[in-house]
């Protein structure tokens, strides 16, 4: 369970407020989308609740533990074991093969051998097992993003954070990625938090957190 309390984020000097006192809770197994126009602060909010960034004020509790109270080592352990990230860009390591990229989280915990089977199964499930020994630059954009998803899912994280995962993909590949996310949420009970500006994808989630100028609002309230 992720609990956010009165999150405020300022950027720059002089400080410009991007988020104004946001509070909400994400229950385990939920599929939540964070949406809004560009500049509404949706990515910022995602990074705050996923431990990548620190709020200027306010608190984030993951499974009851305040992120503020965790040291660097604990934060990285949390990210390694409980959190999976998917970004707009795939961020695969070009020197490693697809399989080696997928196994990166396991490598950090020194459990590669135990996880090789899992990695291969994941690739199969995502329809890219024939590419396991290729290098990322030999893959198409959709395939690269699926490898990134496999990497995020390898250790069966409790939370999956996705920042515009379909932003760089064509309609068909975007649909494939969305289906994978829904499937993961349904079968594994993974809590998913998805940032998107696409209203269709946002509405696929069970709950939508809609931001207008850094404040939680409702889509209908927006003045167009």
């Amino acid at each position: 369970m992720i609990v956010c309390h009165n999150l405020i984020k300022d950027f720059g000097d002089p400080p410009q407020r991007v988020l104004y006192g946001t509070s909400f809770t994400i229950e385990d197994g939920e599929f939540v989308s964070i949406s809004g126009r560009s500049g509404s602060g949706k990515s910022t909010l995602l990074y705050l609740i996923s431990s990548l960034d620190h709020p200027t004020l306010g608190e984030v509790l993951i499974d009851g533990i305040n992120l503020k109270d965790m040291d660097t080592k604990q934060i990285h352990k949390l990210r390694n074991e409980k959190i999976g990230f998917i970004f707009q860009f795939h961020y695969l390591l070009p020197e490693l093969t697809v399989l080696e990229n997928v196994l990166l989280p396991a490598r950090n915990l020194k459990i590669i051998d135990q996880k090789k089977g899992t990695a291969f199964e994941l690739l199969k499930k995502l329809g890219i097992s024939h590419l396991a020994n290729r290098y990322p630059n030999q893959l198409s954009g959709g395939e690269q993003q699926r490898v990134a998803i496999a990497r995020a899912l390898l250790l069966k994280p409790k939370y999956l954070f996705a920042d515009e995962p379909t932003g760089n993909l064509d309609t068909i590949n975007a649909q494939i990625v969305m289906n994978i996310l829904k499937e993961v949420n349904r079968t594994d009970g993974t809590t998913i938090c998805l940032v998107t500006h696409d209203p269709d994808f946002a509405s696929m989630a069970k709950r939508e957190i809609y931001l207008i100028d850094g404040k939680i609002s409702h889509r209908d309230n927006e003045i167009i």
Binding site: D53, T72, K73, F87, L93, P94, L96
Partner: protein
């Protein structure tokens, strides 16, 4: 993290090999310059030590003091004006207390052995040919033990000096006078002191000046020849540790009015040359290693700039700052260590090659340069190459480890 470091290095083969060559070049130059210089130094030191000693104890020269003479002859209160003031040496150079030295040197555990000597300037003559040399009266078995002169005997042996009226001369003198082993020559110590000696050996140090100006005889012969029986002008001392000669000489100096001189001080110009050589050797190597280190620094700095995204994702996956530090540091270390090892090997091979070149000049019995293969050269080269690459990679590694995922993603 080593796996990732390795993969990243393999991915940029050209850069990796170029830097590797830079570091090996620095190491190679240090190894071969040091090999040649230290070999040369060893050769020269050997040459010097063949006829000097590690420590030479000799009688101090004492001058006549006019005031002392005046006081002795006329008393303190008399005013005396000399027309020609007394001057010159007080007496012949002589060791103050040979017995005392004998006890001290016999009981010092740092001393291998010592040999009393009496040196004199004499003129060797045979027929119409004369040659002025410095003759050293010595005890043959002791001299053989404290020097390596026996290795430099061209004809005859040094031990054949035992007995009376035998002489060992240098190859230069022998050539000049046309003397062979077994022939007799006259030795003239001035003022009618003369003797006939049998040549029992000819040495050849390969040093023109020494081979022309030095000869050896049995100590009692020279004492008799110079009409000063029982007199010893100097004691040659051999030490177990040649590098301690200065310390030990300073220690003994306090005990006596005699002159105690270690071989380094006796050959000060040589030691200064060595110091200059050392300086240039370290300077050249440092310069090359600094350039190579800048290479490492540059390549790694550029790399972490190109790899920001990968660093960001590694951090998001859970690789902590320490792991990122290792990622970059390992690359510098691998480059440093393998570059150093390659340089050591190439330097070693180059030294073998240099040592095999026939220079057509005589150096210590051969025609090749003496090359030092002292393990200390290799250890120094290895450590300095590894250390400099470690420092060069530490700075970019620290920069990389301080990047947070957010900084990187925002700058994208």
């Amino acid at each position: 993290m080593f796996f990732l470091s390795w993969r990243q290095m393999v991915a940029r083969k050209k850069q990796t090999i170029l830097i590797l060559l830079g570091i090996s070049l620095g190491t190679l130059l240090f190894v071969s310059i040091s090999g040649v210089q230290l070999g040369m130094r060893y050769y020269i030191a050997q040459q010097l030590l063949n006829h000097t000693a590690h420590i030479l104890i000799s009688g101090a020269e004492r001058k006549v003091n006019p005031t002392e003479v005046t006081n002795a002859f006329y008393g303190k209160n008399e005013f005396v004006a000399w027309l020609i003031s007394p001057s010159g040496l007080r007496e012949e150079v002589n060791l103050e207390n040979y017995g005392g030295w004998y006890d001290l040197l016999s009981n010092d555990p740092r001393v291998v052995d010592f040999s009393p000597r009496m040196s004199a300037h004499v003129i060797l003559s045979k027929g119409n040919f004369n040659s002025s040399v410095n003759i050293i009266g010595t005890i043959p078995e002791k001299t053989v033990r404290i020097t390596s002169i026996e290795n430099y005997m061209k004809e005859g042996t040094f031990m054949a000096l035992k007995g009376s009226h035998n002489i060992v001369i240098g190859s230069g003198v022998a050539d000049d006078m046309g003397v062979k082993v077994g022939q007799y020559i006259n030795v003239n110590a001035g003022s009618g002191k003369m003797g006939t000696f049998k040549v029992v050996g000819i040495f050849h140090f390969g040093n023109e000046q020494v081979d022309r100006s030095l000869s050896f005889a049995n100590l009692p012969d020279i004492q008799i020849l110079t009409k000063s029986p029982g007199r010893v002008t100097e004691i040659a001392v051999a030490l177990f540790d040649i590098d301690k000669s200065q310390v030990i000489a300073d220690e003994w100096k306090i005990l006596t009015t005699d002159k105690v001189e270690d071989w380094q001080k006796a050959n000060q110009s040589f030691m200064e040359m060595i110091r200059v050589q050392d300086f240039s050797r370290y300077f050249i190597t440092t310069a090359i290693l600094v350039v190579a280190s800048f290479g490492i620094y540059n390549v790694l700095s550029i790399m972490i700039n190109q790899k920001k995204r990968e660093i960001a994702i590694l951090r998001a996956i859970g690789y902590g700052p320490d792991k990122i530090l290792q990622l970059i540091l390992y690359q510098g270390l691998v480059l440093g260590i393998s570059g150093a090892l390659l340089g050591l090997l190439l330097g070693f091979l180059l030294n073998i090659y240099i040592g095999s070149i026939d220079l057509n000049i005589e150096i210590g019995g051969g025609h090749n340069l003496w090359i030092s293969y002292d393990w200390k050269i290799y250890v120094t080269a290895f450590i300095s190459a590894t250390l400099s690459s470690l420092i060069a990679s530490f700075i970019p590694a620290r920069t990389a480890s301080k990047m947070t995922p957010m900084d990187i993603m925002r700058s994208e």
